[in-house]
C-alpha cells in the first residue's frame, strides 16, 4: 500500500480464492489473441466447481491434479477447456466470444453468468462497438446494436437528449426507459428542464410534455463511452426482476473498464475529430416575396407571411441607409427607383459545420505485487454544433481499482467525476425558437444582413437603436441570430458517480458481498431572454438549480454447492436499500433594466420556487439457480419491496420470476453435430411492480399560478399578498388508496448456432400485460380538477425479437466477414383506461390538437388531432367533403378551418425496426458499416404545416396552379351535419353530393386554411417517418506492432468514419429521428425541432 495511487484503489473479484492444499500448485496466465492479459478470467476445475479468478495481469494459481480439466471463461470471450498434463505453468489464450453462448455476461445485480445458462433474452455490446460515432454519447451508440431496443436522438444539437426504450411501453405517465446501472449501481437518467415559454418547471420527469424551450438532456449521456468495457441489455421483466421497481422497463447494465492488467503502466489514447453537417431540412420556396395576396410588404410592416409578389418582378433601390437590407428597399421592377434585381437569400446558410474533438487518455496498470490494479482515465469532448454558438463540452475523470487485501477479502472501488457545459438553442413552439424564426423568414429577407459570420455580428440581428432586426420589424419571431446570441441557455453539470465494494469469502461455499454506490450531481441552468426577445419582450433571466443525490446499497450472501456430480446449485440472498433526494431551486427575474446584461440583479420583478423530492425503497431478494449436467438450468427469483411513495397499507409488495433454459444439443443424439453446433430453448415468467409517483396521495395547497395558453399568466405573490390554490388547470386529485402497478410477462426463445458458429440465431417472443397502471385520469374540469390519479389502465405488449449473426467469409488468408442482423417488432395496445374514458393525453399541444395520446384499443402514444370533414363523419377512409358553398373562398376545396372532428391521425410506433452490421477484415484493415431501418411510424410534421401557412414551404411555390380536389361535394350545416346543395344552390339536402369535378386553384387561401395543419386540420401533416439509413460506415487500419522496428506500442489504429452517411425517407422535414418532447414518452411530434446531423470523422487509437 505504499504507492499513493493504491490508496485510491481497491479491488474485488467476484468469487474469491479457494485453494486446495492437497494438490499441486499450478500457475498460469490467461491472455487474448493479441497477448494482452485478461484480468478477472474465471478458472474452474471442471466437475468440481472449485476455481480462482485471474489477477490483473491475467495470472492465476490453482491447486489441481494432473488429468483434471480447467475451464477458463471471461466476459466476451469464448469459454475454453484446458487439460492438465503435468505442467506447472500453463499459458492459455482465449478467443473472442464469437460463440455468444459460451461467453459470460453481467446480469442483474452484477451477477456474472454464462449466456448459455440464461432463460431470458439478453444482448451484450462490447467496447469495440461503442464510441464509433465520435459523439461521446453512450446511449446514441446503442442504436441498432440490439433487437428490441429503440433509441431516438431528439435533435442533432450538442448535448441533445437520447430516448431509449426496451420492448414496449408499460406505464402511461411513468418512466418507460430502462434502468441504467453502472458497475452495479443504478444511476440517474432524468430529464431536468425548465421551459420558460410553455410548461415551466419539470425536474426528473418521464413526461416533459415540452413543445418549446431548449432540447433537454437526459443525464445518461454523461458517461464517457471510452470508459465502458461492455453494455449488457436486459430486455424483459424476467431478466430484471431482481432489480425491482426501478428496472420494470428493462435495464442497461454498463460495466466500466477496470485496468489493463499489464504490469507496470500502460497508456491508451483515443482521439477523434468529427465534422457535423445538417442532415436534412424542409424545402423552402425561393420565388415569392414577403407579403400577402401577391403584394410585397416590407419588413417594417411586420407581415408574417410570404404570399407577396414574385421575386423576379422586384428590384432593390440601392438605398444605403435602409436598415433591413443593404441592397436597399424592395420596389417593383418597373419603378424608376429600381436598380438591382432582387435575388432570393439562402436561409439554409444559417447552419454551419459543427466540429467535435473527442480525446481520452487512460493509464492503467498493476502493482508489482500484482495484488492491485488501477485505471485512471481522462476524457474530454468539445463539440460545436451545426447551429451557431451551440456548444457542448464534457470532461470525465475516472479512477477505478481493485485490491486483494487478504486471501479471502477483496475490494474494489471506482469514482467518476463529470463536468459539462452545454450552450443550448431555443427550439420548438415559441417565438424565440431558432428554427421557427429561420424557416418562416421570407426569401426576400436576409437574416444575416450580408455577413458571412452573422452570429458574431451584432448588426446582423440588431438595428442601430438596439431593437431587433428581423423580417417582422422587430416583432413576431426572433431573428435566429438574435436567438443564438440574445437568448442564451447555459447548462452546467458537476457529477460524481462512484461505488465501493468488498467481498469476503466466508466459507468455501459462502461469500458475502457488500456494495454501496452513489450518484450525486448538481445541474445549474441559466436561461436568458434579452429585452426585445419575442418570447419575453421585457427580458428575463432564469436560474434553475437541480441537485440530485441517490444512494444504493446491496448486501448479498452468495452460496454455491455441487451435489453429486450432476447437480449444481447456487443461492443468492440480498437486501437492498435505495434513497433518492432531489432539490430544485428556481429563480426568475423579469423586466430587465439594461439590455444584454444577463444577471438576475438586472431584473425588476422576481419570482422564486423550490421543489424537494424524496424517496426511499427497501427490498429483500433472492435468486436460486439449479443446473443439471450443464443441460438444464432453472432460475427462480423473488423480491419483496417497500416503497415510500405508496400508502402505508399497500406499500409492500412481492414479485417472483422463473426461467428455464434447456441446452437440447447436450442430448446424446444431437451432441457434436456439424450442422447444429448449439441449441437452446428457453422460457421465462416474471411479475414486476412499479410504485406510485411521489407525493401522490393527497391534494394539497400550493402557491397559486394560472395561465390561459396565450400569456405567461399570473403567479403569486401579488403586491405582497400571498395566494394559494388547491386547483389549477393542471391539478390532479391525490389518491390515498393507490396500489403498485403490476406487469406480468412471459417469453419464449431459442438460441441456435450452426456450422461451428458461422451462423447464430436468437429468437425471442414475449407477451406482457401491465395492470393497475397508475395515471392521472383526465376528468372534466367541472369536477374542479384536471385529473384524478387512479390505478386505471391496462396495457399489453407482445413482440418478436430476432438476432442473426453470420460469418459468410472466413479464410485462412485472414479475410473475415461478419454480418449481424437485428430485427424486432413490438405490438402495444392500451386495453383499458378508466371506465368511461377512451383517451388520455400523454404530451403535445393539447386541446385535442396535435397531441400524443393513450387511446383504448390503440397502441400507446398515437397522434390525435383535427381532421377534414368527410362524407361519413368520423370515418377517415370515406371521401373528403369538397365545399359546394359558392362564393366562399373554400369553394371546391376540402373544407379547412378546423371544423372537422378530432380523431386518431397517426401512430408513431414503427411496424418494425432492424439493423444490419457488417465487419469485413483483412490483414490490418477493417471495413464496417451499419444500416438501420425503421419501417413505418408516423410523425406529425407541424413545421411543414406552419411553413405552408406562412408561404415559405417549398410546395407553396405552386400558387396559382390549377387543382382538382378529390372528394364528394357538400358542406356542414349549422348543426354540424353533412349536407349538400340541391341544383338550385339553396336547398340543403342531407348527406354528401356528387363527386367533385369543379376545378380549383392552389392559392393562398388553400395553403393557409386547408392544406396545412396550422390553420387547417392536423391530419394533413402526418407523415410516414420510416427510414433506411447508413448509420455508420468506417474503415480502420491497424498498424503492425513492429512498425518502427521494435514493439513501441501495443496497438495503433486509424479510422475514418461517417455517421448518417445517407438517409432514405419519405419524411420531408428535418431528420425523421427527432422528438419535440425530448427524451420522453411523447414521441412523434416535430414542430420546428432543431435538425439532425450527418458527420465525418477520423479517429486514432494508440496503446502504449
Amino acid at each position: 500500500m505504499a504507492k499513493p495511487i493504491l490508496l485510491l484503489l481497491i479491488m474485488i473479484m467476484s468469487f474469491g480464492t479457494l485453494v486446495f492444499a492437497q494438490n499441486r500448485e499450478i500457475s498460469g496466465t490467461v491472455k487474448d489473441e493479441n497477448g494482452n492479459p485478461i484480468s478477472g478470467a474465471s478458472i474452474i476445475i471442471k466437475g468440481t466447481k472449485l476455481g480462482v479468478a485471474a489477477d490483473a495481469l491475467g495470472r492465476f494459481t490453482i491447486s489441481a491434479k494432473s488429468g483434471q480439466v480447467l475451464e477458463i471463461s471471461a466476459t466476451n470471450f469464448t469459454t475454453t477447456d484446458f487439460r492438465l498434463e503435468g505442467q506447472n505453468n500453463v499459458d492459455i489464450t482465449l478467443k473472442p466470444g464469437t460463440n455468444l453462448m459460451e461467453t459470460v455476461v453481467v446480469t442483474a445485480l452484477g451477477i456474472k453468468r454464462e449466456v448459455r445458462s440464461l432463460g431470458t433474452a439478453t444482448q451484450s455490446i462490447g467496447s469495440d462497438e461503442l464510441n464509433k460515432s465520435g459523439t461521446g454519447n453512450p446511449l446514441s451508440e446503442l442504436q441498432g446494436k440490439a433487437s428490441g431496443l429503440t433509441v431516438i436522438n431528439s435533435t442533432g444539437d450538442p448535448g441533445g437528449g437520447t430516448y431509449i426504450r426496451l420492448r414496449g411501453v408499460t406505464s402511461i405517465t411513468g418512466n418507460n426507459q430502462p434502468l441504467m446501472v453502472v458497475d452495479g449501481v443504478p444511476i440517474d437518467n432524468s430529464i431536468n428542464n425548465y421551459d420558460a415559454t410553455f410548461n415551466g418547471f419539470s425536474a426528473g420527469g418521464a413526461n416533459g410534455q415540452l413543445v418549446g424551450g431548449a432540447q433537454p438532456t437526459n443525464r445518461g449521456v454523461d458517461i464517457n463511452p471510452d470508459d465502458i468495457e461492455s453494455i449488457n441489455v436486459l430486455k424483459g421483466p424476467a431478466a430484471t426482476a431482481l432489480y425491482g421497481i426501478q428496472a420494470a422497463s428493462g435495464a442497461i447494465i454498463i460495466t466500466t473498464k477496470k485496468g489493463s492488467g499489464r504490469k507496470g503502466t500502460s497508456i491508451q489514447v483515443n482521439s477523434s475529430v468529427t465534422v457535423d453537417k445538417v442532415s436534412q431540412l424542409p424545402a423552402l420556396q425561393d420565388t415569392y416575396s414577403q407579403g400577402s395576396e401577391g403584394l410585397y410588404s416590407p419588413p417594417e410592416d411586420g407581415a408574417s407571411t410570404s404570399w407577396g409578389a414574385a421575386i423576379d418582378t422586384l428590384s432593390w433601390d440601392g438605398a444605403t441607409d435602409y436598415a433591413f437590407d443593404k441592397h436597399g428597399n424592395i420596389v417593383g421592377k418597373s419603378s424608376p427607383k429600381a436598380k438591382i434585381p432582387v435575388t432570393p437569400y439562402n436561409r439554409y446558410s444559417f447552419f454551419q459545420n459543427g466540429v467535435t474533438y473527442d480525446n481520452s487518455v487512460a493509464l492503467s496498470g498493476a502493482s508489482a505485487s500484482d495484488k492491485s490494479s488501477y485505471r485512471l482515465s481522462l476524457g474530454n469532448l468539445a463539440q460545436t454544433g451545426i447551429i451557431p454558438l451551440s456548444k457542448y463540452n464534457k470532461t470525465n475523470l475516472s479512477i477505478a481499482g481493485q485490491d486483494k487485501i487478504t486471501k479471502r477479502l477483496t475490494a474494489s472501488s471506482g469514482v467518476t467525476y463529470v463536468h459539462s457545459t452545454n450552450n443550448k438553442i431555443q427550439q420548438g413552439s415559441q417565438l424565440s425558437g431558432a428554427m421557427l424564426g429561420l424557416f418562416r423568414t421570407p426569401p426576400t429577407f436576409d437574416n444575416s444582413n450580408g455577413f458571412s459570420d452573422a452570429a458574431n455580428q451584432v448588426s446582423a440581428y440588431e438595428l442601430p437603436d438596439g431593437t431587433q432586426r428581423n423580417y417582422r420589424g422587430g416583432g413576431g419571431y426572433d431573428n435566429p441570430y438574435w436567438t443564438v446570441n440574445n437568448n442564451p441557455y447555459l447548462s452546467e453539470l458537476d457529477r460524481v458517480l462512484g461505488y465501493g465494494q468488498a467481498t469476503y469469502q466466508v466459507l468455501d461455499w459462502l461469500s458475502a458481498n457488500y456494495r454501496v454506490g452513489g450518484d450525486v450531481y448538481s445541474q445549474n441552468d441559466k436561461q436568458s431572454y434579452d429585452i426585445g426577445s419575442n418570447a419575453s419582450p421585457a427580458g428575463a433571466v432564469y436560474l434553475i438549480g437541480y441537485t440530485n443525490r441517490q444512494f444504493n446499497s446491496d448486501f448479498t450472501l452468495n452460496m454455491h454447492k455441487t451435489f453429486a456430480s450432476d447437480w449444481d446449485a447456487s443461492l443468492i440472498l440480498g437486501q437492498n436499500y435505495f434513497v433518492l433526494n432531489q432539490f430544485n431551486r428556481f429563480s426568475q427575474g423579469t423586466s430587465l433594466v439594461l439590455p444584454g446584461y444577463f444577471d438576475i440583479s438586472n431584473a425588476t420583478s422576481f419570482l422564486s420556487a423550490e421543489t424537494e423530492q424524496r424517496k426511499r425503497t427497501m427490498a429483500f431478494y433472492g435468486e436460486a439457480t439449479l443446473n443439471y449436467k450443464k443441460e438444464l438450468y432453472l432460475t427462480l427469483t423473488g423480491r419483496r419491496e417497500t416503497s415510500s411513495t405508496l400508502p402505508a397499507a399497500n406499500n409492500t409488495f412481492f414479485y417472483p420470476s422463473a426461467s428455464l433454459a434447456w441446452i437440447f444439443t447436450e442430448l446424446p443424439a444431437l451432441k457434436n453435430s456439424n450442422v447444429l453446433s448449439f441449441g437452446k430453448l428457453r422460457a421465462s415468467f416474471a411479475q414486476v411492480g412499479k410504485d406510485a409517483p411521489l407525493y401522490a396521495l393527497t391534494t394539497p395547497f400550493s402557491t397559486a399560478s394560472f395561465q390561459d395558453g396565450f400569456t405567461n399568466g399570473i403567479t403569486f405573490p401579488i403586491n405582497g399578498n400571498a395566494g394559494y390554490q388547491i386547483s389549477s388547470a393542471t391539478t390532479t386529485i391525490g389518491n390515498p388508496n393507490l396500489k403498485p402497478e403490476n406487469t406480468y410477462s412471459y417469453e419464449f426463445g431459442t438460441d441456435l448456432e450452426f456450422f461451428n458458429n458461422r451462423i447464430g440465431l436468437n429468437a425471442t417472443a414475449y407477451y406482457s400485460k401491465s395492470t393497475d397502471v397508475i395515471f392521472p385520469v383526465s376528468v372534466p374540469y367541472s369536477s374542479g380538477f384536471a385529473g384524478a390519479l387512479l390505478n386505471a389502465a391496462t396495457l399489453e405488449n407482445k413482440g418478436l425479437e430476432l438476432t442473426l449473426s453470420t460469418t459468410p467469409v472466413k479464410t485462412i488468408s485472414g479475410v473475415r466477414w461478419d454480418v449481424n442482423f437485428n430485427w424486432s417488432r413490438n405490438i402495444n395496445k392500451v386495453t383499458q383506461l378508466y371506465p368511461g374514458f377512451d383517451r388520455i393525453m400523454v404530451g403535445g399541444f393539447g386541446g385535442g390538437e396535435a397531441e400524443i395520446d393513450a387511446v383504448v384499443g390503440q397502441p400507446f402514444g398515437v397522434i390525435y388531432g383535427n381532421t377534414y370533414p368527410r362524407a361519413v363523419a368520423g370515418d377517415l377512409k370515406s371521401p373528403l367533403l369538397i365545399s359546394d358553398v359558392k362564393g366562399d373562398p373554400n369553394y371546391a376545396m376540402p373544407i379547412g378551418g378546423g371544423v372537422g372532428p378530432n380523431e386518431i391521425i397517426g401512430n408513431p410506433t414503427p411496424n418494425w425496426i432492424g439493423s444490419a452490421i457488417s465487419n469485413l477484415s483483412y490483414k490490418g484493415f477493417v471495413f464496417s458499416f451499419q444500416i438501420d431501418v425503421k419501417n413505418g411510424g408516423d410523425m406529425w410534421n407541424g413545421t411543414r404545416g406552419a411553413l405552408a401557412n406562412k408561404g415559405t414551404a417549398g410546395e407553396t411555390s405552386n400558387r396559382g396552379a390549377p387543382a382538382l380536389f378529390k372528394g364528394l361535394l357538400g358542406h356542414l350545416d349549422d348543426n354540424g351535419d353533412v349536407v349538400h346543395y340541391a341544383p338550385d344552390g339553396v336547398t340543403e339536402l342531407p348527406g354528401p353530393g356528387a363527386a367533385n369535378t369543379i376545378a380549383s386553384t392552389y392559392n393562398q387561401f388553400y395553403w393557409q386554411n386547408v392544406g396545412n395543419s396550422f390553420g387547417g386540420p392536423q391530419e394533413i401533416d402526418v407523415e410516414n417517418a420510416g427510414y433506411t439509413r447508413i448509420r455508420q460506415a468506417s474503415l480502420t487500419y491497424n498498424f503492425a506492432k513492429n512498425l518502427f522496428g521494435k514493439n513501441h506500442f501495443t496497438n495503433l489504429s486509424v479510422t475514418i468514419f461517417a455517421n448518417n452517411l445517407k438517409i432514405w425517407t419519405k419524411y420531408d422535414g428535418v431528420d425523421p429521428e427527432t422528438s419535440l418532447g425530448g427524451p420522453a414518452n411523447d414521441q412523434g411530434l416535430d414542430y420546428f425541432n432543431n435538425p439532425g446531423t450527418k458527420s465525418y470523422g477520423v479517429r486514432l487509437n494508440l496503446g502504449l
Binding site: I714, G784, F785
Partner: protein, 462 residues
C-alpha cells in the same frame, strides 16, 4: 469452520434483521411534500380567486367577446381565426379550466373553509364571487355544471358532474347572492375577516353587498325582454347597489410582470395579433367624435413594441401593466336602469336622465374633460321618442361603448341587437361559446349534444 466465521455470519444476519425491522414511518415520513401545505387561512384563497377571476375575464373571455362583437379586430394567428368565427371545442379548453379550477374550485374551497370556521364575512364574499363567476359562465355557455361541480376531492367524490339547466342556474345564482348578503349582514363576521388581500373592496362588506345586488340586477335585466316584472325587479336591485364610480367592482392588477393585466400581457407577447383602432367600434367612435377614442386606443402604437405604459394599440387606461379588469361598474348600472325603466314603465324622459348619467359616469371614470363630455352628451344624449325599442337600442348602443372589453357588452348585443353589427364571415355572429372539448372527451355521459357558436342559444337570448 472457524469460530470467527460464525461470528461474521451472525453479525451479517443481525444487520439484515435490523434493517428489516424498519418502522412504517421510515417510509411514510418521506412522502410528504415539503413545498406544499395541507391547510391555509381564507385570506390566501380569496387573493387567488379574485386574481383568477379577473385574469380569466380580462383574458380569454374578454378576447372572445370583444372579437365576436367587433370591439377589437383579429389581425393574425388565433385572434384572426376567432374573429372569423373559426373555432372548435378544443379552443375553449383554456378558458374553461381557468373558470372551473383556478377560479371556482378555489372559491368553492373558500366557501367550505369559511363556513367550517364560522367566518361569515369570507362566507359572504366568496358566495358573491361565485355568483358573479357563474353568471358570466352561464351567459357564455348556457347550461353548465354547478350542482355537482367542484366535488372532485371531497369525500362524496363526483368526477363527472351533470350539466344544470341555464334558467334554473339563474335562480341558483340569485340564491347564492342572497345567502352571501345575509352572511355579510351577520352581526358576527367571524374571527378572520377580509382585508388588504381583497383587491376588489379591501374587505368593505357594504360594497360587497352592493356588488351582490348588481349581480342580481343583471340576472333580472337579462330576462326582462317583454317582461316588465323582471325589469321592475332589476330596478329594485339597482336601487340597493352602486351609488358612484367608487363602488365599481373591478380588479386592479399589480405592476410586476408576473401580476400583469391580461390585455397588457397579450399585447406584449403577441404584438399585432389583435388591433384595436381598426375595429368596428373604433370606427363608430371616431365618426362620432367620441372623446374616449384616444383613451381606449393608441393607433400610433398598433403593433410594435412598448410605448409609455402599454404595449400595442390599447392605450394606458386598459392597456397598462396594472390596468383594471372591470366586473360591474356604476355606469353599467345607470344604463341598465335606463333600459329597465323603459321596459318597466316606458318612461323615456326618466330613462334619458339615467342614460345621460350612464355616459357621464363612464366618461368621468375614464377621465374625459368636462367640456368634451358635455359636448358629447349634447350631441348624443337625447333618446328617440319613436318607440321604447328605439330608445332601448340607443341606450344599448352607448352602453356598448361604455362596456369596452367587458364581456357584458356581448350579452348586451345579444339581448338587444344593438349596436347593429354585420357578420365578419358567414351569416351569423356568434351567440354563445362552444362547450369545451374536454367535457365531451371526459364527461361524455353528461355533456350536451354537439353545439355551434350560434346554437343552442342562452335561455334569455330571444
Amino acid at each position: 469452520m472457524k469460530l470467527k466465521n460464525y461470528k461474521l455470519v451472525i453479525a451479517i444476519l443481525s444487520v439484515m434483521f435490523l434493517t428489516a425491522s424498519c418502522k412504517k414511518s421510515f417510509f411514510t415520513e418521506v412522502n410528504h411534500n415539503p413545498n406544499v401545505v395541507s391547510e391555509v387561512p381564507p385570506a390566501v384563497l380569496l387573493s387567488t380567486v379574485e386574481a383568477a377571476l379577473a385574469y380569466t375575464q380580462g383574458g380569454d373571455i374578454s378576447r372572445y367577446s370583444s372579437l365576436f362583437d367587433q370591439q377589437v379586430f383579429g389581425n393574425a394567428s388565433q385572434s384572426q381565426s376567432y374573429y372569423n368565427y373559426q373555432v372548435n371545442p378544443g379552443v375553449f379548453d383554456n378558458v374553461w379550466p381557468d373558470l372551473y379550477t383556478s377560479t371556482m374550485e378555489n372559491d368553492y374551497t373558500l366557501i367550505n373553509l369559511a363556513d367550517a370556521g364560522g367566518n361569515n364575512a369570507y362566507g359572504g364574499v366568496s358566495r358573491i364571487l361565485m355568483a358573479y363567476t357563474m353568471q358570466v359562465t352561464v351567459d357564455l355557455w348556457g347550461s353548465v355544471p354547478y350542482s355537482q361541480a367542484f366535488h372532485g376531492n371531497l369525500s362524496d367524490q363526483i368526477l363527472h358532474p351533470i350539466f344544470d339547466n341555464d334558467k334554473a342556474l339563474y335562480d341558483t345564482i340569485a340564491n347564492l347572492v342572497d345567502v352571501g348578503i345575509s352572511k355579510l349582514n351577520d352581526a358576527d363576521p367571524g374571527n378572520l375577516v377580509p382585508g388588504a388581500e381583497d383587491v376588489i373592496y379591501g374587505g368593505d362588506a357594504g360594497q360587497w353587498i352592493k356588488f351582490g345586488h348588481a349581480i342580481k340586477a343583471r340576472l333580472y335585466l337579462h330576462q326582462s325582454k317583454g317582461n316588465a316584472a323582471m325589469a321592475t325587479q332589476a330596478l329594485a336591485e339597482i336601487a340597493q347597489s352602486f351609488t358612484g364610480n367608487e363602488d365599481n367592482a373591478q380588479y386592479i392588477f399589480g405592476t410586476a410582470e408576473t401580476a400583469a393585466n391580461p390585455w397588457y400581457q397579450f399585447n406584449r407577447d403577441r404584438p399585432g395579433d389583435e388591433t384595436y383602432s381598426t375595429s368596428t367600434l373604433a370606427g363608430r367612435m371616431l365618426s362620432a367624435n367620441d372623446p374616449r377614442y384616444p383613451i381606449f386606443f393608441d393607433p400610433t402604437n398598433e403593433t410594435l413594441g412598448k410605448k409609455g405604459n402599454h404595449y400595442g394599440g390599447l392605450n394606458d387606461y386598459y392597456g397598462s401593466v396594472n390596468s383594471p379588469v372591470e366586473f360591474i361598474t356604476y355606469d353599467e348600472l345607470q344604463f341598465a336602469s335606463a333600459e329597465a325603466t323603459l321596459r318597466a314603465t316606458g318612461s323615456i324622459a326618466t330613462a334619458q336622465t339615467l342614460y345621460q348619467s350612464g355616459i357621464k359616469s363612464n366618461m368621468e371614470k375614464l377621465g374625459v374633460p368636462t367640456g368634451a363630455m358635455n359636448t358629447y352628451v349634447a350631441a348624443n344624449g337625447t333618446l328617440p321618442t319613436t318607440s321604447t325599442d328605439d330608445a332601448i337600442a340607443m341606450v344599448a348602443s352607448q352602453e356598448f361603448t361604455a362596456l369596452f372589453l367587458n364581456p357584458e357588452s356581448w350579452v348586451l348585443w345579444r339581448r338587444t341587437g344593438s349596436p347593429a353589427l354585420t357578420p365578419i364571415a358567414g351569416s351569423a355572429i356568434p351567440r354563445r361559446l362552444e362547450w369545451p372539448q374536454s367535457e365531451y372527451s371526459y364527461n361524455a355521459a353528461n355533456a350536451p349534444a354537439t353545439n355551434t357558436l350560434v346554437a343552442p342559444k342562452i335561455f334569455w337570448d330571444n
